[in-house]
Symmetry: C2
C-alpha cells in the first residue's frame, strides 16, 4: 500500500511535448471548474481536449479482452448505476442511425485483467483496488485486475463528466492511474443507541461508494438495544430490541445490507462488543450478565458479561458460530472497550473467582481472562478479529492478524507506536469521531490528520492499514444521520485514499464543495460546507 | 400578557372533591405516559377518566353558538389537518349506524365567541391567542375569542390524544385554560446564505404551529444572494440571486408562504437589512452601494448602501412601497446591524459629505443619518418597523412602536435594561442563535434562559414582548435545516409560551422526547434528544 508512484522525470518530459499537464487540470477554466475529483487520484493527467457524451449513444461495456462479461451482475449493476448518475433520468437509449462525431466519447470499456474477475466474491483486506483509466475518443478504457478496482474507476469516471453551458455532458482527455494509500477505509454506524432503518444504512453505503470507502463497521448492538435477530437466540432481539418487529434487522435485512455493500466493494464488519456494552443482551439470555450486589444482596442491576460461568462461554461459542456464517467478511469486531469493573467488584462470587485465579484485585486481569477465552472461541470459527485498543493495552495475547483499533484521543501517537511496535496491524479512529460536532468547518480538522505522523520505523508505519470515521448514535437517527455524516466523512475518505502530499485545504474546499453538490444531486442530503448553492438543490425535506 | 392565572384556592378545593388533580396528570400511569403537552399550558386539570375516539364517528365541528361556520376556510383547513394528525391515514368517515358508547368522545366543538372570528384576517402582535378547552363525554368544547386562539387549542387537543394498547385513540377528561406568556414567539430563517426551497419553509411553518410559534422572521436577502423577486426592481433577483429561475421566490411563492403561515396563525415579517449586508443588491441596482477606494482610485469593490446619494433614498422609497403591499403584517424588519465603516472611510465623496454634515469622523452618525431617513420612508408606508439593536445603540430616533431586537450575547441584560428603559418594546434573540451547534443537549441551555431576569421595573419588563430562535444560514440548507432546528427550537417555544415557573429540565426532557416523536410521526425530521426510539421512526432519508 505504501509505494508512491511519483512522476518519473522522463514521463514528464514526454508529456509536456504532447500538451499534457500533470497533477492539475488545464484547459478552458470554465469547464475545468466543473470537475472535482474526490478523493483525488494518485496520478492523473488531463488536457483541454473535451469529448461529448450523448445519452442516446454512450454505453458502458465490457472490453473484449475482459475476463468479465454480461454474466457479471456486480458490474452490470454498476454500469447501470453510473450511467444513471451521469445522465440522470434520461434512461432511454436509442441506437442512433447517425454516426457518432469524432468529438464524441461513445463508450467506456471496462477491462478486467485477472483470470478471476471476482464477480461473485467479496472484497477483503487484501483486495487490489487499483485501476487505470484512459479517456480518449472514441473510447475510454478502464483497466483493473478485478471488479473491485473497476468499481473505484467507475466512480472516478463519473466524477470526470461535467455539463457544459448547453447542458451537454463533456469529459476531457484524461489518463489516471490510481490506488488507495490505505487498505481499510471505514465508516462506523451505531444501530443500537438509535435504530437505523434499512433505508438509512443503504443510503449511506451509496454515499460511502461515492467516497471510495470500503468498510462498513456495523456497531449493530450495544447497551440500549439489540436489533440483530439471531436465529440461534431469537430472545436476544425479542427482548432486547426497542421493538421486536419494527426495530430489528431480520436475517434478510442483514443479507441485503451485505449484498448492497458487496455490489459497491464494501466489506461489512459487524461488531458484537463484549463483555461491556451488553445491557441489552441480558434481557434475552438468563445469567449472561454479572448480577451486581449492593452490600451482601443482589441489587437487581447487572454488569458486564459474567466471566466466571462456563455458560457464558458456551453461549458465546454458539452465538459467534452463527455470526461467523451470517457475515462473510474474514473479520469480526469483538469490541472489548470501556469495561466497568464496579459490578464485578461488588459480586462476592466474582471476588472469590479472582482469588482462586490469583488475580488479586486487578480486574483488568479478569477482563483479559474473558477476552482471551472469547478470542479463542472466535478463532475456532476461522475468523480474524478486530478489537478496541483496551484489549491490547491490557496485555491480552492476540493472533498475529488481529487488527487493533485506536480510538482514544489522548496519547494516540504513543498508542500507535506501541501497537505497531508489538507487531500488530492497527486502524485509527481517534481523530475521526464525527458524533462530536462543533460550529464551523470541522471537516478541515479531520482532513489535516496525518495517520503516520507518530514516531516509528517504516515497518511500524506499514502496520497502520487505515482508519475509520465513527458516528456514534447518541444524538443521531434517521432524521439527521446522513447530513451529519456527509460531507464531513469525505474529509476522512480523501485522507485515507489519496497521496500523503494531498494536504491543501483551500483546494480541498473547492473540490469538496462540488463533490458535496454531486452527492446532493445523486440524492444524498450532504450538508453544505459553507455559504453558497448547488445547481441541483436537495429535493427531499 | 403578564397576568398569570394562578390556581385560586377555592377552585382547587372544589376540584379535589371531584377527583381532579392540577398541574400534572394522574390516572393510569401507562396511558398518562403517552401524553406530552408542549409547550405546557398555563393551567390544566386532567383526570383518570378516559374516552375513546373512533375515526368513523369522531368529528371536529363548529359549535352552534360559534360566530364561525363552514365558510371559515381557515378553520375548515385546521379541522382537517388536526383530524389527520390524530387519525393518520384513516380518512374515511362512515356515519356509523351504531350509537356511540357513553365512553366515547364523539366531537370537538369549536366555539368562536367574538362577533368577528377573523377567518380571513391576519394574526398580529395584538392577537388574543388564549383559549379554553374542556374534554368530557360526549363532547369536547374549545372556546376562543377568534380563530387564532382556536388554532392553539386545536394543537393542544391533538396533543392530548394518545393510543392505548389496542391502538385505539383515547383522551382523558381534561380542562385547560391557556394563553401565551409572550406575544412575539419567532423563528428566523435565512434564505440568502443558502436558498431554502419553498418546501423547506412550509415544513418549518408546520413545525412552528406544532410548537405554538407565531412569527416567521424571514431574513430573505443578505450579502450572498437576493432571492426575492421584486416586481418594481426585477434586476435585483435577476442579477442578485444564485440563479434567476431556480433560486428565487416568485410573487406567488411569497403569497403561498404568507397564506400557509396565516392558516397556522403565524405572522410573516420580512427582513430587508440595510445599509450593510447588501452586497447582493448591488448587482442589480447601479450606484446603490458605496464604491470603495484603494488610495485615490475606486478599488472595484463595494460597501454598504451609499448614504450620500438621493438616488439611494428614492430607490428605498419605491422598494419599500412594494414590500409594504406584498407583506400584510404591520411590521417590516429593517435590519441595521453590523455596518462596516471601512469602505465609507475609504471613499473621498463620503468623507466630504461627513465634513459637510459636521459628523467629524464618527461614522455611526452617518449610519444613523441613513437609517433615520429610511425609517421615515418606511413610516410613510404606514408600517411599523423592527430593527437590530445597533440602531437603538447608535441613538437613532425611533417611532414609539418600534421593536428593537437584542441579539448580542455580551451585556445582553444591560441592553434589555437600556432599551426598555428608553420605553421601547424589545424582543430577545441573543441566547437563541441556534446556528451555533455543540455536542450534547444544548436545548437545555436555551430552555433555562429567563428573558425577564434583567434588572428593571415592572413597566420595563412588560416591554419585552417575546423572543426569536435564529437559524442563520452559513451552514444550513435543505439538507440539514429541519433536524437542526427541531426540537432545539421547541425549548424556546416553551420558554416563550408557558408560565415562568415551568423550569424543570428533567420533566421537560420527558415531555420533549415525546413531543419530538410526535413531530417525527407528523413528518417533521426532528432530531433525537438522546438515546432512545420513537414508535414511528422517520420515514424519509
Amino acid at each position: 500500500m505504501y509505494f508512491l508512484l511519483k512522476f518519473a522525470p522522463l514521463f514528464l518530459a514526454v508529456s509536456v511535448c504532447h500538451g499534457w499537464l500533470f497533477g492539475d487540470f488545464v484547459g478552458k477554466q470554465k469547464e475545468v471548474d466543473e470537475i472535482s475529483l474526490w478523493p483525488l487520484p494518485q496520478k492523473f493527467q488531463s488536457s483541454a481536449v473535451a469529448f461529448k457524451l450523448s445519452p442516446a449513444r454512450f454505453l458502458i461495456v465490457h472490453a473484449k479482452e475482459s475476463s468479465a462479461g454480461p454474466g457479471c451482475s456486480l458490474l452490470e449493476n454498476a454500469f447501470r448505476r453510473y450511467f444513471e448518475y451521469v445522465f440522470g433520468e434520461l434512461k432511454k437509449h436509442e441506437k442512433s442511425r447517425k454516426k457518432a462525431f469524432d468529438s464524441d466519447l461513445v463508450e467506456l470499456k471496462v477491462w478486467i485483467t485477472a483470470a478471476d474477475p471476482e464477480c461473485d466474491g467479496y472484497p477483503s483486506l487484501q483486495t487490489d483496488e487499483s485501476y487505470e483509466l484512459s479517456v480518449d475518443s472514441p473510447s475510454a478504457v478502464l483497466k483493473a485486475a478485478n471488479v473491485w478496482g473497476a468499481l473505484r474507476g467507475l466512480e472516478t469516471f463519473s466524477q470526470l463528466v461535467y455539463e457544459d453551458d448547453y447542458g451537454v455532458n463533456n469529459i476531457n482527455k484524461t489518463v489516471i492511474s490510481d490506488f488507495p494509500r490505505f487498505a481499510h477505509r471505514g465508516i462506523l454506524l451505531d444501530s443500537s443507541r438509535h435504530f437505523l432503518p434499512l433505508k438509512v444504512i443503504l443510503a449511506n453505503l451509496e454515499a460511502m461508494a461515492m467516497n471510495k470507502f470500503n468498510v462498513f463497521h456495523w456497531h449493530i448492538v450495544d447497551d440500549p438495544s439489540f436489533p440483530y435477530i439471531s436465529r440461534t437466540f431469537p430472545e436476544l432481539s425479542q427482548k432486547g430490541a426497542y421493538h421486536p418487529f419494527t426495530h430489528v434487522y431480520t436475517p434478510s435485512d442483514v443479507k441485503m445490507v451485505i449484498e448492497f455493500a458487496r455490489m459497491r466493494g464494501i466489506r461489512v464488519i459487524p461488531e458484537f462488543d463484549t463483555p461491556g456494552h451488553t445491557q441489552s443482551w441480558g434481557n434475552g439470555i438468563k445469567d449472561l450478565l454479572t448480577p451486581c450486589y449492593s452490600g451482601s444482596t443482589p441489587s437487581g442491576t447487572f454488569g458486564p458479561v459474567n466471566p466466571i460461568l462456563n455458560s457464558s462461554y458456551e453461549f458465546m461459542a454458539q452465538f459467534f458460530k452463527e455470526i461467523s456464517t451470517v457475515f462473510p467478511d474474514a473479520y469480526i469486531h469483538l469490541g472489548g472497550d470501556e469495561v466497568d469493573f464496579s459490578c464485578w467488584k461488588s459480586n462476592p462470587d466474582v471476588r472469590k473467582f479472582m482469588e482462586q485465579q490469583g488475580f488479586g484485585t486487578d480486574y483488568s486481569k479478569l477482563e483479559s481472562f474473558y477476552i482471551q477465552r472469547l478470542l479463542d472461541i472466535v478463532a475456532a470459527t476461522k475468523k480474524g478479529y478486530m478489537v478496541w485498543q483496551e484489549v491490547f493495552d491490557n496485555g491480552v495475547k492476540l493472533k498475529d492478524d488481529t487488527v487493533v483499533e485506536v480510538w482514544m484521543g489522548n496519547k494516540m501517537e504513543e498508542e500507535l507506536q506501541n501497537v505497531t511496535g508489538a507487531g500488530f496491524t492497527t486502524i485509527l479512529s481517534a481523530p475521526w469521531y464525527l458524533d462530536y460536532i462543533s460550529y464551523g468547518q470541522d471537516w478541515q480538522r479531520y482532513y489535516k490528520v496525518e495517520p503516520l505522523s507518530f514516531p516509528g520505523t517504516d515497518a511500524q508505519k506499514k502496520l497502520v492499514i487505515g482508519g475509520e470515521a465513527c458516528l456514534w448514535g447518541e444524538y443521531v437517527d434517521a432524521t439527521n444521520l446522513t447530513p451529519r455524516l456527509w460531507p464531513r466523512a469525505s474529509a476522512v475518505a480523501e485522507r485515507l485514499w489519496s497521496d500523503k502530499s494531498v494536504t491543501d485545504v483551500s483546494k480541498a474546499y473547492d473540490r469538496l464543495t462540488k463533490h458535496r453538490c454531486r452527492m446532493v444531486k445523486r440524492g444524498i442530503p450532504a450538508e453544505p460546507l459553507f455559504v453558497g448553492h448547488c445547481r441541483h438543490e436537495y429535493n427531499g425535506l
